[in-house]
Amino acid sequence: MVNWFRLNTMKGFKKRKQTKEVRYVKTPSQVTRQTRRVGGDLLDKLCAHCDGQGQALFSSLGRLVDSPFNSIMTIMVLAITISLASGFYLLLNNLHQLTANIETSAQISLFLKDEITDAHANKLASTIRKNPAIQQVTLISKDQALAEFKTYSGFGSAITALKTNPLPVVIQVLPKNTLEDKKELENLRQEFQRLVEVDLAQMDMQWVERLQSIVAVAERGACLLNTLLGFAVLFIAGNTIRQELHNRHEEVIIAKLVGATNGFIQKPFLYAGLWMGMFAGLLAWFIVSVMMLLLRQPVEALSGLYGGGFHLLFFSVADFFKLIGISSALGGLGSWAVLSYQLQYTRPE
C-alpha cells in the first residue's frame, strides 16, 4: 500500500508543520481559502489527478527499494534476457556493416600455381593490366603474403620453421564498374581460369553473396529469438507483479471495499512493472557495452587482417533510447496483462 499514497502522507506531514501556527492564530484565513476553492473545483480535481499519478509513479519506485532483494533478482533476470536480445541486435548491425562495405566489390582473385615465380607473376599482371575491362590490378607476392600471414595469424613462429613458403602468389583484379552484369563477370573469371599460370580464379562476389545469405539467415534467426526473449520479459515481469499482488492481497481487498476502482489499484503495480523494465534495460545496456568493450580489441585485430574496413559498432544514442523504451514497455505490458486478469478475480469475500 506504500504505493497508493506515500507521497500524500509526506506532503501531509510537511503541511501539518506549516499549518500548526496558522491553525491557532488565524482561523479566518482558512475560511476565505475555502470559499475561494469553490471556483477552482475543476483545477483542484486536475491537480488531484496529477498528484495521484505522480504519487503512484514515485511511490512504486519506493516500493522497489523497500524489497531490494526481490527487485534486484527480477531486474537481473530481466537484464540478462534483454542483454541477449540487444546483443543479437548489435551483432546483426555489425554483420550488416560487413556486407554493406563489400557489396560493390566485383574483385576477382587469381591464385597462381605454386611454381610461378614473382617475376613471372609480374609479367602476367602487366598483361592483365592492358585488358580494357580491367580497372586495377594488385600483385601480392609470396613474401608479402607470408609476412601478412605471420603478422595476423598468430602462427608466426610455426611459419618461420617452414623451409619453403607454402603461400601462392595472388593477383587481385578489379574489373571496371561498367562490368555490372554477372554473366560478363563470370566470362571474365573463366577467361582467367583458362590461363596456364592460374591455379584458381575466384570471384570475391561469390563470397559476398554467400555472406549475404548467411547474414539473412542469422537475421531471421535473431528476429525469432528476440521475439521469444521479448515474451520471456513479458512473462518474467508479469509473474513478479503477480507475486507482488499476492503479497498485498489484503490491502487490495480493503481498497476495493472502500471503493477503489481496478484502475486505481493497478496503477502502482503497473508503474512498478515499468520501473523494473526500465532498470533492466539500463542494466542490459551496461552489460552489452562492457561485453562490446571486451570484444573490441580482438575484432579490430581480425578486421586488420581483412584490410581494416570493419569497426565494431556500439549502441547509438537512438538505440539506447529504443532499448530503454522497449524494455520499459515490455515490463509495463507484462504487468498490465497480469493485473487486468487478476484484479477481476480478486474480490472481497
Partner: protein, 218 residues
C-alpha cells in the same frame, strides 16, 4: 435511503439464506440488525456492499438499484457507504493517518483537503495526536475508532457496521455507540449488525430481527 424489496438470496450449496426481505431505512435513521448466527446477517450486509448479488428482489441505495449495478459501477456505489468491521480491517503497515485517508485518496481528493478532513474526523472520534501511530500500537477500542473514522471521513450517506463492538468491553461499546448516534444527528443513516441484546435494548432504536433467513420484526 436503503430499501430492500422482496430480496432473496440462494446459494447453490446452502439453499435459501435470505427469503423475501423487505424493509426501508429512512435518512438519518439508526437501526440494529440482529439475529442468531447463521440467520443471514452477514449475507444481508454482503448484498448491501455488492459483494454478493441477490437472487430475487431489488435493493435501492439512495435511489440507485444495487441489484442491477454493473461491475464497473460497484466502486462508486461503495463510496456512498461507510463500512465498519468487527476485525477492523486496517492496513497494519500504514499509519492511522493513512488508514483514514484511504477513501479520500481513492476519491482523488487533493492532499491539503485530505489533511484537513482526516484531522477533523480523528478529532471527532477522539484520536487526535495519534495520526502517526501504527494500528498495532493502539488498543482494540482505538483501532475500532480508526475504522469508524475511515468509514465516516468521506461523509457517506449511510454507515454499515458489522458487529462493531464484538471485540470490545461494554464500556468501550457504549462509547462507540455514542459515536454512531452522533453520526445520525448529522443526517447519516446507520445500520448496525449486532447480537449484543443488552446493548441494543439500552439504545432503544429500531431493530430488524432475522431468523432463519426471514425478517421476523422490523
Amino acid at each position: 435511503m436503503l430499501k430492500f424489496d422482496n430480496v432473496s438470496k440462494r446459494y447453490p450449496e446452502s439453499g435459501e439464506v435470505l427469503r423475501d426481505i423487505s424493509f426501508h431505512l429512512r435518512h438519518g435513521e439508526i437501526a440494529f440488525l440482529t439475529g442468531h448466527s447463521g440467520a443471514g446477517k452477514s449475507t444481508l450486509l454482503k448484498l448491501i456492499a455488492v459483494m454478493e448479488r441477490c437472487t430475487r428482489g431489488q435493493i435501492f441505495l439512495d435511489g440507485e438499484n444495487l441489484s442491477a449495478a454493473k461491475e464497473s459501477q460497484i466502486p462508486f456505489l461503495r463510496r456512498k457507504m461507510g463500512f465498519i468491521y468487527q476485525d477492523y480491517k486496517l492496513l497494519q503497515d500504514r499509519t492511522v493517518f493513512d488508514n483514514v485517508a484511504l477513501p479520500l485518496v481513492i476519491a482523488g481528493i487533493r492532499h491539503q483537503e485530505i489533511v484537513r478532513k482526516v484531522r477533523a474526523v480523528l478529532d471527532k472520534v477522539g484520536l487526535s495526536g495519534k495520526e502517526r501511530k501504527f494500528p498495532i500500537a493502539l488498543s482494540g477500542g482505538e483501532q475500532q475508532r480508526v475504522g469508524i473514522a475511515r468509514a465516516f471521513v468521506n461523509k457517506p450517506p449511510i454507515i454499515i457496521a458489522d458487529e462493531p463492538t464484538g471485540n470490545l468491553d461494554p464500556e468501550l461499546a457504549t462509547e462507540i455507540m455514542r459515536l454512531f448516534v452522533s453520526f445520525q444527528q448529522v443526517g447519516v443513516t446507520v445500520l448496525i449488525a449486532s447480537h449484543d441484546i443488552s446493548l441494543i435494548e439500552k439504545m432503544n432504536h429500531r431493530v430488524l430481527k432475522l431468523a432463519n433467513g426471514q425478517l421476523v420484526s422490523a
